[in-house]
Subunit: 226 residues, 2 copies
DNA sequence: TTACGATCCGGACCGAGGTCCGTTTATTGT
DNA sequence: ACAATAAACGGACCTCGGTCCGGATCGTAA
């Protein structure tokens, strides 16, 4: 439960999900939603599974969908699901992959203020707002896709966001511990927090948005007066 | 999975864990580690379970301990564990209860700078450091006790901390959205984050501590220059 | 002391995530 | 076209968290 780091060279019991085969860290925004060299039937089943999962989740909510149900709906064996996606989190994450890549493309190479061209602080503000909106319209999935606490921050997609925020911060406040500051900012955008504040505390999204802008100002030291 | 709010008056299928029967919101720091009016055998079993759990966790780590194993080690039926503590999270939380109450007592009525008497900002600084240290020496348990994302922020003990931070912030920055700011600060103290930074990124605790102090200064607008 | 009702106990049972391995299928080289 | 080999398949199987309910126990009042 806490071992199983690599599995020795002797016969891998499972080819391991080649799904989250993260490209060189950050710039993993290539190839739309497909995958590298996958056998024909495998690719077909993968597509079927994603489609089935999407449909079932739309019907019953992410929390109400069983892996076995997905497999059945896709006319595929249960083992196939796990071989392809590793675990439940993997499948759910794959469903988020598209929007995740889009967001990444937007702030990495899109038009300002999200993309390069605008001053860093503007980009940072826009970034938070973008993430906020994205999370709100996928809260259900985002929550269900959250891995267990130990791995929450290891998730490649999240790391990418964190890296980006760190870079922006470095341009704004070079003397600060931008790694930690970035972590703090990302914490504000945690789907679980957003869910809690909007659904359980009834805060309007607008307030969260203001909160983000304010937070950015405070953290970067660009408060109004002074 | 997302219903079951209260259970109607008609025959409760389970008396429901009377464990986290939160007193009036905040000031729940009374009665050391025991419970209200519990039948003799029930109290005895409860103690046995807590003791067994503690021992097993010390041996195998929190993640490596099964509910059934705890039950067996306590010479008790599995059902008894769940009746008493509701679920795994409940049991683990109960183990943290003692230190949780102590912390609460400290910042609610202990000596400055944690307790009342010191200026709010000093208390806030001390608060973060205290939580940091407490988390570090119980990381394993804290992580394992973390409930699923949907309920992460609903946890009473966490709410208490959040409330306290909010109050301190209100004294420091009355015009800010202290609820949100408090949430941000609490995010920095999330055990999962601490685990990630210290165990996975290899940051020394000292750096996290500096990070907290710096964060407090930034967020409250009490930066050095100006 | 006894009897009775509320509370508690225990372990069989269930569902869902995850694994294993014998069988099937796609690909590739000839 | 035809092996031969690597990759993929599927579903039985395992574990573990959580539930249920018939029966044992405790507290109490007479």
């Amino acid at each position: 439960m806490l071992y199983a780091v690599f599995m020795s060279a002797t016969l891998p019991p499972f080819p391991r999900p080649q799904e989250p085969a993260g490209e060189p860290e950050l710039l993993q925004l290539s190839s739309a939603g497909d995958d590298p060299c996958l056998r024909a039937d495998a690719a077909r089943n993968r597509a079927r599974l994603l489609e089935a999962a999407t449909r079932l989740i739309a019907e019953h909510g992410a929390a109400g969908v069983t892996m076995e149900a997905v497999a059945a709906a896709a006319n595929v064996g249960k083992g196939t699901v796990f071989r392809r996606f590793g675990d439940r989190t993997g499948l759910l994450t794959a469903l988020l992959d598209h929007s995740s890549r889009k967001l990444q493309a937007d702030f990495l190479g899109g038009p300002p203020p999200l993309g390069p061209g605008a001053p860093a602080i503007e980009r940072l503000r826009a970034f938070g707002v973008a993430v906020l909106y994205r999370s709100v319209e996928q809260l259900d999935l985002q929550l269900a896709a959250q891995p267990e606490p130990t791995r929450r921050f290891a998730h490649p997609s999240l790391r990418a966001l964190h890296t980006h925020v760190t870079m922006l911060l470095r341009q704004i406040a070079p003397d600060a511990d931008c790694e930690l500051l970035a972590q703090t900012l990302m914490g504000y955008l945690d789907p679980a927090l957003i869910h809690h504040l909007t659904k359980q505390c009834g805060m309007p999204l607008e307030r969260l948005e203001k909160g983000w802008l304010d937070l950015v100002d405070r953290v970067t030291g660009s408060r109004p007066p002074c």
